[in-house]
Symmetry: C2
Subunit: 333 residues, 2 copies
């Protein structure tokens, strides 16, 4: 089942069920007015939404054209966003570029930060940037959970994944170091993120198994392939483990978004190469800059600037978009 939230000028949008091929949708408000409302009563409403999805595929309900550009992020406002760093290669690179070792505990204890959940940008929403901020994208997989009781273990948590999305975790690199130095986390350096137009239940994802999504996260910068990273590889912590980590000392409310962190492949310990060079490339500019720094002592690829366009997508085996595309243009403020 695929769900989306269409912009109707309200704060939370209106819920629609989307066809598997993302061309059509049908209004779901008679079941739940918003995605949050559906998640608030997920075990009861999910079967009703699934029935509506089947009716949509068979053409037995009113159909609208689905346009990704009219979609908001599936949860325009969410109550909780916790973003992990499950692809340890990304963390190792960050450290290596600044000459630091990675603590061994990072292989067993996930890195995670509390992110802002109050205003996810639309999938086609502009990225507000400032020339001093060092604006970057981070291509991620994320899940939206059902209610997760405090202390839930990783195996149980895997079954509490309600929906899967793509997520662009916008990062203000020049603000990260001063913020982290203060010791209290990212705050100003991690502004609002954007999600894919469509959220998909795990049972509708061929690549979903054991809390991981296997697929190629396609990231393009200004129309040029920047990343073709395999999301099923090199993920040290699956979503069950990330959710369990998040729920150690708190209940996670239905609609909690858990991010994977930047999707990153290690590629046999060799140097990572760009897509142009035949490699998997990167899911953020920072990684390319780190590779440049490690190889050449300095980074030269610039951060995002006015009119840059970043696009994220993932396709199925037939080449069709699974979640719809995030496509955002940078606007200097």
């Amino acid at each position: 089942m695929k769900l989306a939230t269409l912009d109707d000028d309200s704060r939370d949008g209106r819920l629609v069920v989307v066809s598997n091929d993302l061309t059509r949708c049908t209004d779901a408000r008679r079941i739940a007015p918003t995605l949050q409302a559906a998640l608030d009563d997920w075990s009861r409403l999910r079967p009703e939404l699934a029935a509506l999805a089947r009716a949509l595929e068979s053409g037995s309900v009113p159909i609208e054209r689905f346009h990704e550009r009219n979609a908001l992020s599936p949860l325009p406002r969410a109550y909780e966003f916790l973003d992990g760093s499950a692809y340890i290669n990304h963390v190792e690179l960050v450290r290596k570029a600044r000459g630091a070792q990675m603590p061994p505990s990072f292989h067993t204890d996930p890195l995670m930060y509390q992110g802002t959940a109050s205003g996810f940008l639309p999938p086609r929403g502009a990225i507000a940037s400032h020339s001093d901020w060092g604006t970057d994208f981070e291509g991620e997989i994320a899940v939206i959970t059902d209610d997760v009781p405090m202390g839930t273990d990783a195996e149980t948590a895997r079954d509490l994944v309600a929906l899967v999305i793509l997520l662009n975790d916008i990062s203000l690199r020049s603000l990260i170091q001063p913020e982290l130095t203060k010791g209290f986390g990212f705050v100003q350096s991690k502004p609002a993120s954007a999600c894919s137009p469509v959220a998909v239940t795990p049972d509708a994802l061929i690549g979903w198994a054991e809390g991981k999504l296997t697929g190629i996260l396609e990231v393009d910068l200004n129309g040029v392939p920047f990343g073709r990273v395999r999301s099923g590889d090199d993920m040290t912590f699956d979503f069950g483990e990330l959710i369990a980590h998040a729920a150690k000392t708190r209940h996670l409310v239905a609609g909690t978004i858990i991010g994977s962190g930047t999707v990153s492949n290690k590629l046999d310990d060799g140097p990572m190469t760009t897509v142009g060079e035949g490699g998997a490339g990167y899911s953020c500019i920072a990684e390319l800059r780190m590779i440049e720094t490690i190889a050449e002592g300095t980074a030269y690829t610039p951060w995002l600037g006015e009119d840059d366009v970043v696009r994220m997508d993932m396709k199925d085996e037939q080449g069709h978009s699974i979640f719809g595309a995030i496509e955002q243009t940078v606007v200097e403020t």
Copy 2:
């Protein structure tokens, strides 16, 4: 105007307007079903709620008894919680106890962390603890904002304070150091907080001026006065400055909660003393332990344990509770 959210077995409770003396309330659902719904359309609904408040005081609307024990936190689920450390004395003590200097920038650049907003505990809700966690309370003042556009300055932000509350920022001290060492903020060490039963508009607070609340935050531990700290003193950053700091790189959605951090008085640079010794005492156990550490080389006051009761309240000049009391009992898990 005073507002509260009563428990009706729904996730967000039902909105009531409460009398100034906290003894009576009246249903506000014909104006807005929940406090979040009221905040979503605050400029339009606030006058309607204020009219209902006047009608409540004059007895011209149906009246219910108001029992603090039936209240949830005013926003049982909120979209954003950013907690500052506006009382620099608290930060200085933390550093001093571990032999570290405080960077001068801390006097001009607020410390702030992104907290969990998804599930505020009821004002009388149990604190789930574990003997290994080092559970502590932190008495704070907090505000609930209207929509705050990105880049709003401090002066403008002061006028966007919709409501004021008390807040118990529960802190798991034994988890803080390992979490902060990882570099990504508190996450597991800052679980759900609790708020006062009643939220009050600034115009109804005699002690409110220039983004600060003047009053004595009464904190009792097991019925014994623990803190009588003056919230109007020693607040380095007012709420306008904290909101502006939070909004530097993001829009703050209506219903955002901004915390002051632990209320703490400096008292002429002298050693802080307990309430029993005639001093202002402390708004968290950690401060007392830091004083013990600085004075005697070791801390001996224990963290919270099974059946401990922490109570927070603030009274007006007539001795009446302004916000109702937070009163929470610790339950070991």
